[in-house]
Symmetry: C2
Subunit: 241 residues, 2 copies
């Protein structure tokens, strides 16, 4: 736990789920939490386990993956600092839909789902914030579903890279580094295409100076160029029709 | 409005969002609602409009569609009797992510989103139910995303038909009628494939006696046969390896 209840409260105040709570509510929320640290490679929870605990990540990065019935692993999303995971624990009688693997040494605040449910009954603002968090997830998955169902692969790759950059990009010399361990195979799985297709597109973009890729590493050199592809805008060199 | 507050309360008690509310809470919820009837072809709300109202469908069927930037229309899901739509209206400052078109003469209970937010602060159980509703949507879209990203087309068609049958199937002579206006083009869009592929699969299944299709009409004649395809189980005639 950070040095004091106050320090933890200050931290939580910046997180969507806890916004707008008064000092009393925030103190009650902090009192109900404890800290769970995990080394890289361990899991906070596993797909299919009864969802009993809700987490807010304080340090590190977590990968949420689903394994299909055939054993194929699919990255659902990444969780970064300040994001929640396992919110369904609040609802009772549900299972985790994905496994949550720590990619670094991680620290998370953890609450018993039922304790959060009690807090939500006491401080309804917390429940409304929980709804907002879930509504944002619904939007995100709706968007990805629409992209997957209707858009050509090149746009899907561009959108995925921009989304990941938005979530966990860092400015580096020469562009924005996507600070997540992502192989080309992972990228392909996240947008429902083949390794071959992703490699072809990234090589082409690399030749055009749009991105720079290495082993599990992507730097976006010209974000505006990717936005043009993602939104299917006329390119800088193409005259508008 | 049904004949009395009591009749409406009895109806709402059977709907997930209102489960577990006491009589006082339920009465307050009913008092805040009014009825909005729409003829077939009209819309309860449009994609991109500020989300101000939340609905629970009492009669008829509603189609939620998104139009992509290119003008392609995608059916997100159907809403049937007892289901909610536009829950984001409760959160304020959001827009509807889809348009909601009445497929029949429809009746819906409608609440101002902000009035529901106030009720949720007053009756936190309502907010927890709202979270549950959104969590179920997250699951549904996660499942569809995983299917789209990883499964072969035949399984996706089988799963889609089974999901639609579960939501709005009616027993008829010779099978289960999916009671939704669905062209083969619609089916193709919902699972991200082509009209040609869907037509080829349905024709094959029709020849095998699994389904019977007509204009905007599908009857599942052997649901178990579709389950075998959806779950990739060994067929009845194939020996297990």
């Amino acid at each position: 736990m950070p040095t004091s209840v106050q320090a933890t409260a200050d931290l939580l105040r910046r997180i969507g789920l806890f916004q707008g709570l008064d000092a009393d509510a925030l103190a009650a929320v902090v009192q109900a939490a404890h800290i769970r640290a995990l080394p890289a490679g361990s899991c906070y929870f596993f797909q299919g386990d009864p969802a009993t605990q809700f987490y807010v990540l304080l340090e590190g990065r977590v990968r949420l993956t689903q394994v299909t019935a055939e054993g194929q692993q699919l990255i659902l999303r990444f969780i970064t600092r300040g994001e929640g995971m396992g919110i369904v624990a609040v609802l009772g009688a549900m299972v985790y839909s994905a496994s949550a693997e720590a990619l670094d040494a991680c620290q998370a605040l953890v609450w018993e789902g039922m304790a959060v449910a009690v807090l939500m009954e006491q401080y309804p603002r917390l429940a409304l914030n929980g709804m907002r968090l879930l509504a944002q997830r619904v939007r995100e998955f709706q968007d990805r579903l629409r992209e997957l169902a209707t858009e050509r692969v090149e746009r899907r790759v561009a959108r995925l890279l921009l989304r990941l950059a938005h979530q966990s990009g860092h400015k580096v010399a020469g562009g924005i580094l996507i600070d997540l361990p992502l192989s080309r195979q992972n990228l392909a799985e996240m947008i429902g295409t083949t390794l071959y297709t992703v490699s072809r597109i990234l090589s082409q973009w690399e030749a055009q100076g749009l991105v720079e890729t290495g082993r599990e590493r992507v730097v976006i050199r010209r974000p505006h160029g990717l936005v043009i592809i993602a939104d299917d805008l006329p390119g800088e060199d193409e005259p508008r029709a």
